[in-house]
């Protein structure tokens, strides 16, 4: 029993490391552009498969393949934002939601068309797991956690310190005041879309490192990632990190009580419970 409890803790932290960047992307888009982007789950899939394609297909070393993949996904997100989403910028919340659903289907089917419906594995050299006081964790899992923490931390610092980050925060906080302060919104929106696409794709790469790639990996992560983003407070990147841990812990420890097929429902229950108690999320909105 106590070994299970240890192992669930490790699994929760590891899966949280994949959800957190995606949730940060969702949070960022919502915070600035004010719509839930349901396509960001598919950017996870895209990130995972592009990494696969570049490493297996072109023989690139995995870190380089992953880097190019997430940057490419960022540019895909930027391109879609500056064309389709930009065209409906002033049309309210519904058109961008519908667009994001359409984009979700397109991306999912593009991945299927290239790689089929089966599962793929990134080509990772075999390693020996570490065992610390009964906590068993593989080097790849450790790497996932480190990369995730770094990505969230770096994004946070970008928002906090850079000129771009200040413009992002100003637009999220008070769009009209940002306009009359001389901020041109479109380049900022483009940057936000790039960051969100990149972060989500990174979440997909991390997920791929932990398990296998399937065309539904992004779809399966969508609900938990949204639960995490909302729980963390939409627009709040650090909140996304903390919330990812909470949702993942709840999901893993629920296995002590319910069958694993109910695991994804747990994310939803946690979300509902916390929203009832604190509608703005655990760490409040924005930052």
């Amino acid at each position: 029993m106590s070994e299970l409890i240890r192992q669930y803790l490790v699994s929760a932290i590891v899966i949280a490391s994949a959800w957190a960047p995606t949730a940060a992307g969702i949070s960022l888009i919502y915070g600035v552009l004010r719509y839930p982007n349901f396509a960001l789950g598919e950017f996870m899939t895209l990130g995972g498969y592009l990494t696969l394609g570049l490493s297996a297909g072109f023989g690139m070393p995995l870190p380089l393949a992953a880097l190019i993949a997430v940057i490419a996904a960022g540019f895909v997100s930027l391109a879609v934002d500056q064309t389709a989403f930009r065209a409906v910028r002033r049309a309210g919340i519904l058109p961008p939601i519908l667009l994001s659903l359409g984009l979700m289907l397109i991306l999912q089917n593009v991945v299927r068309a290239f790689w089929g419906n089966g599962a793929w594995q990134l080509d990772l050299p075999l390693t020996r797991p570490y065992d610390w006081l009964g906590f068993v964790i593989t080097p790849y899992q450790l790497m996932c956690i480190a990369v995730s923490v770094l990505a969230i931390g770096a994004s946070y610092m970008v928002l906090l310190r850079t000129r771009f980050g200040k413009a992002v925060r100003a637009l999220a906080d008070n769009p009209d005041l940002a306009l009359v302060s001389g901020i041109e919104p479109e380049p900022v929106y483009a940057g936000v879309a790039f960051m969100a696409g990149l972060l989500s794709a990174l979440g997909g790469v991390l997920l791929g490192l932990q398990s296998v790639l399937t065309p539904l990996m992004g779809w399966d992560s969508l609900l938990p990632a949204f639960a995490v983003a909302i729980l963390g407070g939409l627009g709040n990147l650090m909140g996304a990190g903390v919330a990812a841990l909470i949702v993942a812990l709840a999901g893993e420890y629920s296995l002590l009580f319910v069958q694993s097929s109910y695991k994804s429902a747990v994310a939803f229950v946690v979300l509902a419970l916390i929203l009832i108690v604190r509608p703005a999320g655990i760490l409040g909105g924005r930052s």
Binding site: K166, D173, N174, L177, V180, S181, G182, S287
Partner: protein, 246 residues
């Protein structure tokens, strides 16, 4: 209501000529005109919903001009973006949500200078701190956690950082105590005395008119009255409408 303007009059620092504007299909301003000279302090009065805020939003570039023209320092800015109007010398403080609530006082001021080079605004911070010394003490405080009066100082400070030649202020006295209103209007008068033209929208008609040079009265999106502040202050209709009668 049509007004045919001759050769553009460039003597004024800010001119709004027969402005028609509003929200989407809804027209609110049906041809409002306003003229402000250099360093002049102009107050705009009018009942709730008469279009005062709409006029300022149109002047600063948040709303598009359907007809009419806006001249700033002799340049036609009718179609210019809010950013270009700021760079041309006009800054705006909105009626509500005039600060970036999640940002510190310093960050709010920095945002006001966002469109300018750091070298262009290096003195501006000191100048804002001389108008509002309290802001210098509270640099690190998050604006959303400040009192209403302090937030209003941050809001005006943010607009002043870009060193405007015209400052548009929408009801900065809202929610302030009478003493705080006197204090604030005194500071705004100082800003005007330093050569910045002021367009102040106000509900506190009597107090605003006492410190201003000239005033406009709007009603239902048209000019109703204009003149030297003291004339407007003593106009029977204005007294009846805004100053509680007698």
């Amino acid at each position: 209501m049509s007004m045919i303007s001759a050769a553009p009059q460039t003597a004024g620092r800010l001119l709004g000529e027969a402005l028609v504007a509003g929200y989407r299909e809804m027209e609110i301003l049906h041809g409002v005109s306003i003229a402000v000279a250099g360093g002049e302090f102009v107050t705009v009065l009018g009942p709730n919903g008469s279009g005062k805020s709409t006029l300022l939003k149109t002047l600063c570039g948040l709303l598009t001009v359907k007809r009419g023209a806006i001249w700033l320092l002799g340049n036609d800015v009718t179609r210019a973006s809010a950013r270009d109007r700021l760079l041309a010398g006009m800054c705006y403080v909105p009626q509500v949500r005039g600060v970036f609530a999640s940002m510190s006082v310093m960050e709010n001021l920095e945002m006001g200078a966002f469109a300018k080079r750091a070298s262009e605004v290096s003195d501006a911070f000191e100048r804002v701190f001389t108008y509002f010394p309290r802001l210098a003490e509270r640099r690190r405080q998050i604006a959303g956690s400040m009192s209403g009066g302090e937030q209003q100082m941050v809001a005006i400070g943010r607009a002043l950082i870009a060193s405007p030649s015209v400052l548009l202020l929408d009801e900065p006295s809202a929610g302030l105590s009478p003493a705080a209103v006197d204090d604030l209007f005194g500071r705004i008068r100082n800003i005007a005395n330093d050569g910045v033209s002021i367009v102040l929208v106000e509900q506190n008609a009597a107090k605003a008119l006492e410190v201003s040079d000239r005033a406009y009265v709007l009603a239902d999106g048209v000019n109703r009255l204009e003149g030297p502040a003291l004339h407007v202050l003593h106009d029977p209709e204005v007294r009846r409408l805004y100053l509680g009668g007698d």
